[in-house]
């Protein structure tokens, strides 16, 4: 009888043990399900990040596009008569002379160094002018269009990110330091960094343009938000060569002063460019900048 009682007890305990084992198995399965959910959530987060990142990059790429033939031709073919009609146009003071610095030279030719950023609205304005000025001394290729940052004017402009320049007179070195979303794009070389530190101990403003270490422009010469806002790149390309438009006065005026600065590097060559009415007037403006601005060294 005692043995029967003991046997029954063992059976009860064994059944209880099996029941608990089954509960543990169910608990284990629930754990696997929960952890699988966590893993799936992590995968989903990573997938969202990658997909949105790729879409964003595509959106950014869509903003940067090869400059159309209309734009390229408009830059190359600004009429000298229109440039003369504008003179220094509506530009504000901006150029400063550079002293106590060796000539900035690259490949045996005077160098024009541009440091800007795609997000920057003042760069957006000055790139049009710089492209016109450079086109009077050589050939710019690889031009693309973009826009300044959405929260910074969204101004249609060019970008020099992949631009190439050939000229008998000078070398053009562009650096687009940041993209439209203010992310790092191109880095300055050590020499460029040293030059900027020497010329601008307090730091540079975008755009910074060094004309052979004879003149520099630290910032814009005009406010593009008032003259270029709301226009497409094609519209700016059309308006900029019209001396009666705000865009024309600003862009051509700035281009004339830049041309005058470049003429100082090229010993006033080519003569048909450097002896024009507009450039002569702009050289007076450069001389005034030399009298009123302090040395940058």
């Amino acid at each position: 009888m005692a043995r029967d009682g003991q046997q029954r007890k063992n059976e009860v305990r064994e059944r209880a043990r099996i029941r608990r084992e089954q509960e543990r198995k169910r608990a284990r399965q629930r754990k696997i399900l929960t952890y699988s959910g966590v893993i799936a959530a992590v995968v989903a987060v990573i997938a969202v990040i990658v997909i949105v990142g790729v879409v964003n990059k595509s959106s950014d790429k869509n903003v940067r596009a090869t400059a159309s033939d209309q734009i390229v031709n408009a830059i190359k073919n600004v009429q000298p008569a229109n440039l003369d009609a504008v003179g220094v146009g509506s530009i504000q003071a901006g150029f400063q002379p550079v002293s106590n610095q060796p000539a900035l030279v690259s490949g045996g030719k005077p160098e024009v160094l541009y440091i800007g950023a795609e997000f920057c609205p003042f760069c957006a304005g000055e790139r049009w002018s710089l492209a016109i000025a450079l086109s009077r001394f050589g050939t710019l290729t690889g031009l693309e269009t973009t826009r300044s940052a959405t929260d910074d004017g969204n101004i249609a402009t060019l970008t020099f990110l992949n631009a190439k320049y050939t000229s008998d007179y000078l070398t053009f070195t562009p650096v687009e330091a940041e993209d439209r979303q203010r992310k790092d794009l191109q880095k300055l070389t050590d020499d460029q960094q040293k030059l900027v530190s020497a010329l601008l101990p307090k730091g540079l403003s975008f755009p910074f343009i060094d004309f052979g270490n004879k003149y520099m422009l630290n910032g814009g010469q005009f406010d593009p938000t008032s003259s270029l806002s709301g226009m497409s790149a094609e519209q700016i390309a059309t308006a900029m060569s019209n001396p009666s438009t705000d865009a024309g006065k600003a862009i051509m005026g700035s281009a004339n002063v830049m041309t005058a600065a470049i003429c100082k590097l090229t010993n006033n060559q080519p003569a048909n460019v450097c002896s024009s009415t507009a450039v002569t007037a702009a050289q007076s403006a450069l001389a005034s900048a030399g009298n009123t601005s302090s040395s940058s060294s």
């Binding site: 209880a16 608990r20 754990k31 696997i32 992590v42 990573i46 990142g53 964003n56």
Partner: protein, 182 residues
């Protein structure tokens, strides 16, 4: 049941049943992670060592590994990755997997979770700040994630008997300690 009694019971429950593949696979991921992270760390500190990788376009290892985001709190991310894999390695050996100590299990799962959170941040940085991908970094990210998966599933498969043991009768008849399954 108070904490000390619970700890005693967990230890008395003995080593856990662990699938034979679990320590092997987790160790493999960690060792590969150490290898790749070591390569990245050497390339970070020694300029003469360049990563075997594209350096232009969307896949641009140089751009990623020299970006501002290649540092975290002043420390190189490559070195942090190496420290992560070296640090988690002891928690992946067979003895650690068999250990019923909650400290070991918790440390392993927390470390892998921290690793995954960090790689999510790094992937975000690549996509939105750097706009480039580093293939070797992606390899480390993948190994970190796979280790996380293995650790989570391993935890689910190796819950200690001590979790809900009421008495020794909960152990299979004749077994007072668990053994590694073959």
């Amino acid at each position: 049941m108070n904490l000390s009694a619970l700890l005693r019971r967990r230890v008395q429950a003995g080593p856990l049943d662990v699938p034979f593949w679990l320590p092997a696979v987790s160790l493999l991921f960690a060792v590969f992670g150490i290898g790749v992270a070591t390569y990245l760390t050497i390339a970070h500190f020694d300029e003469s060592v360049s990563l075997v990788c594209s350096d232009n376009g969307a896949v641009n290892c140089g751009k990623v590994t020299t970006s501002a985001q290649s540092y975290f709190l002043g420390l190189p991310v490559a070195a942090l990755g190496l420290a992560y894999f070296v640090g988690i390695l002891p928690l992946l050996v067979p003895a650690a997997w068999r250990s019923p100590l909650w400290v070991v299990r918790t440390a392993r799962i927390v470390a892998s979770a921290v690793g995954v959170v960090f790689i999510v941040r790094l992937i975000y940085a690549e996509m939105f700040w750097i706009h480039a991908i580093c293939l070797w970094c992606t390899a480390v990210h993948a190994l970190t994630f796979l280790l996380f998966v293995v650790i989570l599933l391993g935890h689910a498969l190796t819950a200690p008997y001590g979790d809900d043991v009421n008495d020794e009768d909960d152990l299979p008849a004749g077994r007072k300690t668990a053994t590694v399954r073959r």
